[in-house]
């Protein structure tokens, strides 16, 4: 009886202790290194883009660099789709969505309001918009409608987001 009560008390104590622990520790060093290796090429391009954006005073120049960043993310996404890596497609799809929705589209809208369509900047703007729309089509075409990648709920979500972005770039 005493033994059972003691075991119960110990169990409750352990459960309370386990419940009081903080969140699980973050990425292990090995996981972090694996992710770093998977993203090396993309990171190199995005760091270069960041440096270019830092010195780009004109919104058109920032829109062009932003489109370039979206393009390199799209290239990585296509490779992930070809490799049947649904999780990576979803992760990169989220980054691509943010880059276009929160970066490129607002910049294009801002410049369009202040720049005549026939001016040199207006023509650059048009080229950026068309280029970004073409890039999105190219990326969406690489995502299969079914199968290991296409059936993933997260990938379906990405496809829907990209479709929405495509509409915004019309």
């Amino acid at each position: 009886m005493t033994r059972a009560a003691a075991a119960l008390l110990i169990f409750l104590g352990l459960a309370a202790w386990a419940g009081a622990q903080g969140p699980a520790p973050g990425l292990s060093a090995a996981d972090r290194l694996r992710l770093h290796r998977a993203n090396r090429t993309l990171l190199a391009d995005l760091v270069s883009a960041g440096v270019a954006l830092g010195g780009a005073d004109r919104p058109v120049a920032r829109a062009e660099t932003c489109q370039e960043s979206a393009r390199v993310i799209g290239i990585a996404l296509r490779k992930a789709a070809e490799a049947q890596d649904a999780d990576r497609v979803a992760e990169l799809g989220d980054h691509l969505d943010r880059m276009v929705r929160d970066g490129l589209v607002p910049l294009l809208d801002e410049v369009r309001q202040t720049t005549p369509a026939e001016s040199p900047d207006g023509k650059r703007l048009k080229a950026v918009r068309e280029g970004a729309a073409g890039d999105l089509d190219w990326v969406r075409a690489a995502i299969p409608p079914a199968g290991k990648v296409g059936d993933s709920a997260r990938v379906k979500d990405v496809s829907a987001k990209l479709e929405g972005l495509r509409q915004q770039l019309k």
Binding site: L35, R37, R40, V47, A49
Partner: protein, 270 residues
């Protein structure tokens, strides 16, 4: 001093990463022991990151002493049996309580089975989302913020944040990444500092911010770079040999960038 004795002495140190000069001389002359020490230091680094409370400083010595002296089990303790059961235990062991306990157990099994197997309920498959790479997330966020920011001074601050992120990642990966990967990270840091921060500071238009705000911004960036340089230097001292060149490149780049920012300020003040 033979290789085995050097390795045994390193293992007996409180922290194998901190090797005294007498042993360090052997490591410098013996590539095998140096490589072995690199692995030992890396294992020690991993152990240090495990989420456990630190042991007392003398715990290791006590444990080694226990293992090396005397038999491991001195005697097997004998637990005396109690002569009889208590009144309560005796009462609970009666036939009436046994029937009641059996009935309660049967009800629990029936309720549990119904909860699990009732029609219309499908078992949920909990899927853990795969890990995202924090550096990629930071760099994307940084690029987005830079794209949306129209103020050149604010973009300069954002570049400072990007440089910090890259330096921190290099320190984090110092023990596990190979030299080429660390070198690449240090090159990205150099690009952000030299081609981003310093160049942008040199061409910051005079009308972009007031003279006072400009001075404050440059001083803040210079202090940030000084801190980054110190952290990289410290990390180089604690890291395995293969990681030191990249960390020293970051420290040198940070110091050089700080000096260039100060030079820009001095030129404008003159």
């Amino acid at each position: 001093m033979t290789c085995p004795s050097v390795r045994n002495r390193i293992l007996a140190l409180p922290d194998p990463r901190q090797v005294p000069d007498a042993l360090r001389a052997h490591l410098t002359a013996c590539p095998d022991c140096l490589a072995w020490w690199g692995h030992a230091a890396r294992v020690e680094g991993f152990l240090a990151r495990l989420p456990v409370p630190p042991a007392p400083a003398d715990k290791k010595a006590d444990l080694l002493a226990d293992l090396t002296t005397g038999p491991v089990i001195a005697r097997v303790p004998v637990v005396a049996r109690r002569p009889g059961r208590g009144r309560l235990v005796g009462a609970l062991a009666g036939p009436g309580w046994k029937y009641a306990g059996g009935l309660a157990a049967a009800v629990l099994v029936a309720v549990g089975g119904w909860a699990l197997l009732r029609p219309g309920k499908t078992p949920e498959v909990v899927r853990v989302a795969p890990a995202k790479y924090p550096l990629l997330d930071h760099v994307v966020q940084s690029d987005l913020a830079l794209a949306r920011e129209s103020s050149p001074a604010r973009r300069l601050e954002l570049l400072g944040g990007l440089a910090d992120t890259l330096s921190a990642e290099t320190r984090t990966l110092a023990r596990v990444a190979d030299p080429d990967e660390l070198k690449e990270l240090s090159e990205w840091f150099r690009k952000v500092v030299d081609d981003g921060i310093v160049r942008q500071a040199e061409r910051l238009p005079p009308h972009a911010v007031t003279q006072e705000a400009r001075r404050a911004l440059f001083e803040q960036l210079a202090a940030r770079l000084a801190r980054t340089g110190d952290e990289a230097d410290r990390a180089a001292g604690e890291s395995p040999p293969h990681a030191r060149p990249a960390l020293r490149t970051i420290a040198d780049t940070a110091r050089d960038g700080r000096a260039k920012l100060r030079a820009v300020l001095a030129r404008e003040g003159a």
